[in-house]
Amino acid sequence: MSSSVSAAAKASAAFAHKKELAAAAPAPTQHRAGSGRRSKPCRVRAVASPARAPRAPASTGSVKTAMTMTEKILARASERAGLEPGENVWVDVDVLMTHDVCGPGTIGIFKKEFGEDAKVWDREKVVIIPDHYIFTNDERANRNVDILRDFCMEQNIKYFYDIKDLSNFKANPDYKGVCHVALAQEGHCRPGEVLLGTDSHTCNAGAFGQFATGIGNTDAGFVLGTGKALLKVPPTIRFVLDGEMPPYLLAKDLILQIIGEISVSGATYKSMEFVGSTIESLNMEERMTLCNMVVEAGGKNGVVPADETTFKYLEGKTSVDYEPVYSDAQARFFSDYRFDVSKLEPVVAKPHSPDNRALARECKDVKIDRVYIGSCTGGKTEDFLAAAKVFLASGKKVKVPTFLVPATQKVWMDLYSLPVPGSGGKTCSQIFEEAGCDTPASPSCGACLGGPRDTYARMNEPMVCVSTTNRNFPGRMGHKEGQIYLASPYTAAASALTGYVTDPRDFLM
């Protein structure tokens, strides 16, 4: 495609790091340590079924097709021994997720096409999470949550994270909040599985070494009825990130760096696999931040190989048996990108595109009106701990309104209970209060995508905002003339303290 050629040319001109673009040129020595290590005991809890043979058929034998992780997951889900990129295959879906924005339409299609009395293919594999437009007086938005509830009652859906009392989210023990973070926290993200969701950021779950991607209402309606989806096998671009992560960088800096490198269409129809020593050092929430934004590069899915960090996170969260898969040493990759993370600097994405990359320090003269910390990609516990670390280091007060929207009820609880390291036992909420931030709001998607006019922290005026969210398209947070700078929680907190886009090293070094 000519567009991607020009985008790649543009990106490489601005890129100073070592990169190799040779197609189908895997470098086995660089391959991550976990690959093919099926002898490593997996910390998989087999609760109901006896222990499996440790090797899947596709991973053994001398005649197997070398595959990437994504190819392997899709091969297993389609009961094929081998797959090539470009093939269209019917896959069995392990989990289908929908929410209040696309759920009612999905249900409408399901009923229209399969009949009013039809039953979903598996009531335990459908996860329905109201999260987008919750704390609003918009009648249609409220009605949409009612449609979800009626459907879940009718179908006896096992996992429905309901909210009825909008005046106090804490009065709703079932309510979680932002679907992608809730999926992870509730144990619905498992290595080796296929997760589809009616939300483009469903790719977030690739952090668990699974295939996860966003689909529309019509495809989701089909999955509801059949449990199957027709998917095209994507080629995989491999991103090798090595080097020690500097203490002023977060995963958001890495993914903004990558998107700036390959452009907003650089991974269209492709899988993005993240490997390397830096990736291995990241906790699960940071891996989610990375995978969450692959769609901002056009990616179909993103994956991080499952390892001890993954297995540890999953302990106690799921009783479902799972089996991780890994790219073969001889797997063919569409291309390879290599990054020395120790040399990277904090970056932002300037308005109005996630690939409009600039160094945070290059934007130090950009005056801002507000800061927003929230969303699936930037409103997790680790994101708030990072912001608190900056406020704590400075000891100063914010100079612009600073809005905090925890992704889920659990994150909200963490802000009020977890001690921030090095603070002498203070919680995030105490640190935020001392810094003069707004009180953490009720967990939901909030103003990340604007939403109804009365949404908390929605940009109803043409302001300049530094945000830890994932998109800075025109009008994304409300006002069409609003300007959004995407940034890490470090950079967002540092910017709140100065009123300008600010490199967090000003406070952390």
Binding site: M1, I107, E116, A118, G216, T218, F222, V264, F473, P474
Partner: protein, 247 residues
């Protein structure tokens, strides 16, 4: 990519058909205009094009759409196609489906796009065809985006490339044909209001106002799915699934 007009382009502009009469609103609905034959045209991008030569693809789709074009640039995301505040509308409800149409492209920045896609107070657009740049429909997976365009009356998007989910949703719903241009730059040469013909059978976009032609990539297997009205309708039509559940 938009080169200055060349001698070939000048030739092309003299060879163009006279614009058709202004399209009526009936044009914008799901009608297929009569087979549209055009004389041999000199096209500086695609070379000499004859209907026979251009019909070489295996696509059985032969639909022709004719009318005014609405032109947008690169990376038009789904927030611009249908802003999130309107996502409370449920596309599977007929009255809300129509309302989604009235908000199509409501998120385009007014300064860059002074002409609205749908006039205030209207539910339908006057533009049958949308021409865009690269990565059309990027961002959110909201199916409301192709639905809004289709509900407003647009029949085809002609862009340099698409974001994956938008393309898939367009085909799955059958709302609009997501057609790909063979070469880049058409959006820079077309102006909103130009009169165009999209000829699927010949895989060509003809701009009658400027006299230029643009080669399209064949829509392939997706064509019949869209023509049938989406994947469910296609599956029933072709016997892949039982003809219709009692609804």
């Amino acid at each position: 990519m938009a080169a200055a007009p060349t001698a070939a382009a000048t030739v092309a502009s003299t060879a163009v058909l006279a614009p058709r009469p202004a399209p009526t609103s009936a044009f914008l609905r799901r009608t297929q205009a009569t087979s549209h034959r055009h004389p041999i045209l000199k096209c500086r991008r695609a070379g000499t094009l004859t209907p026979a030569a251009a019909a070489g693809g295996s696509s059985p789709s032969s639909a022709v759409f004719h009318g005014e074009v609405f032109v947008v640039g690169d990376n038009i995301d789904t927030d611009q196609i249908i802003p999130a505040e309107h996502l409370t509308l449920v596309p599977s409800k007929p009255d809300e489906y129509r309302k989604l149409g009235s908000f199509a492209f409501a998120g385009l920045p007014t300064a860059a796009y002074p002409t609205p896609f749908v006039d205030p107070g209207e539910e339908s657009t006057r533009y049958a065809v949308i021409v865009g740049g690269a990565n059309f429909g990027c961002g959110s997976s909201r199916e409301h985006a192709p639905v809004a365009l289709g509900a407003a009356g647009a029949r085809a998007v002609v862009a340099e490339s698409y974001a994956r989910i938008f393309f898939r949703n367009s085909v799955a719903t059958g709302e609009v044909y997501p057609l790909e241009l063979h070469d880049a730059g058409a959006w820079k040469e077309c102006k909103t209001g130009d009169v165009v013909t999209v000829d699927l059978g010949n895989s060509v976009l003809i701009n009658h106002t400027s006299g230029k032609e643009y080669k399209l990539k064949p829509i392939g297997d997706a064509g019949p799915v869209i023509e049938a009205g989406g994947i469910f309708a296609y599956a029933r039509k072709t016997g892949m699934i039982a003809s219709k559940a009692a609804a």
